[in-house]
Amino acid sequence: MIDAGMELAPPDWPRGGDVIRAQDFGPFAQAALARYAAVSGDDNPLHLDPNAARAAGLAGTPAHGMLTFSCFEPLIMRWRRDLFIARLSGKFLRPVLAGEAIQVSGRVIRRREVPRPELILRLTARTQNNDLAVVGEATVLYKIPGQLG
């Protein structure tokens, strides 16, 4: 029985264990950190001033956590365009220093089809040394193309 208003998952709706192909972002040059500081308003000297970074015990200026975190959205939307990201959370485990790149990837850890097709995604951003920099989780809902979330 299908209830009125219930949305059906498309035939190619992902399954648990499906992998979101890894994508590379960066390297985040100091100029990119300055640009992000300008557009986000986060001009914390930790990200812009090597002396402040050193005073905090870092070897160099770290990229804004939100700059690396923000890579999860294009990762998901390049994977499938028929998704509405209802929830996205992340923990910043280690800094990504200026000049470093990250590789972002994901995996479907749970799938639900009713009342609305939904996926739970586990997301990671790793440094070039394969260290885990950001771990995230997203809840995405099926969005009929052309409709707003």
Binding site: F25, A32, R35, Y36, A38, V39, S40, G41, D42, D43, N44, P45, L46, N51, A52, R54, A55, A56, H64, G65, M66, L67, F69, S70, C71, E73, P74, M77, R78, F84, I85, A86, R87, L88, S89, G90, K91, F92, L148, G149
Partner: protein, 149 residues
């Protein structure tokens, strides 16, 4: 100094690290998803979508609004401390739309042990419908202000 869960008005800033937990709520703040600012933000974060949508991390820039920034700086405790981003989450009922006014409800909680600041933001339409929420978790790190040798 107020105890846990009590609201405290602005203007009674900490001269040093607080010794008890404090919660402050700001009056509602009106913001707008300006098309140009959204485009700049997308460019700086490498977003795949080039128009018609607001990136889901865009609301972090509202943490840099003067009243919010002032609150955060006040609760951090002044010079000698830096906020380090530990965690971030977003939850959306609806995608934000470009060139649209929203009303923010913001509260910040400073805990002394562990030394952290949690900033919660609720984003609503002018009609009061909640579109999304975010939570920012900052660890407060003391820094060495001595000049690097």
């Amino acid at each position: 100094m107020n105890g846990r869960g009590h609201a405290q008005p602005l203007g009674s800033g900490f001269a040093q690290e607080p010794s008890a937990d404090t919660l402050i709520r700001l009056p509602p703040i009106r913001v707008r998803t300006d098309r140009g600012e959204v485009a700049e933000f997308l460019h700086a974060t490498g977003g795949a979508r080039t128009g018609g949508f607001v990136p889901l991390t865009f609301p972090v820039r509202w943490l840099a609004l003067p009243s919010v920034r002032g609150l955060i700086l006040q609760l951090i405790g002044g010079q000698g401390f830096l906020p380090v981003h530990e965690g971030q989450s977003f939850a959306y009922e609806h995608e934000l739309r470009i060139e649209t006014d929203y009303i923010l409800a913001i509260e910040a909680r400073r805990t002394a042990k562990p030394p952290r600041l949690t900033v919660k933001m609720a984003i609503a339409t002018r009609q009061g419908e909640i579109c999304g929420r975010s939570e920012t978790l900052l660890r407060i790190v003391p820094i060495n202000l001595e000049p690097a040798s």
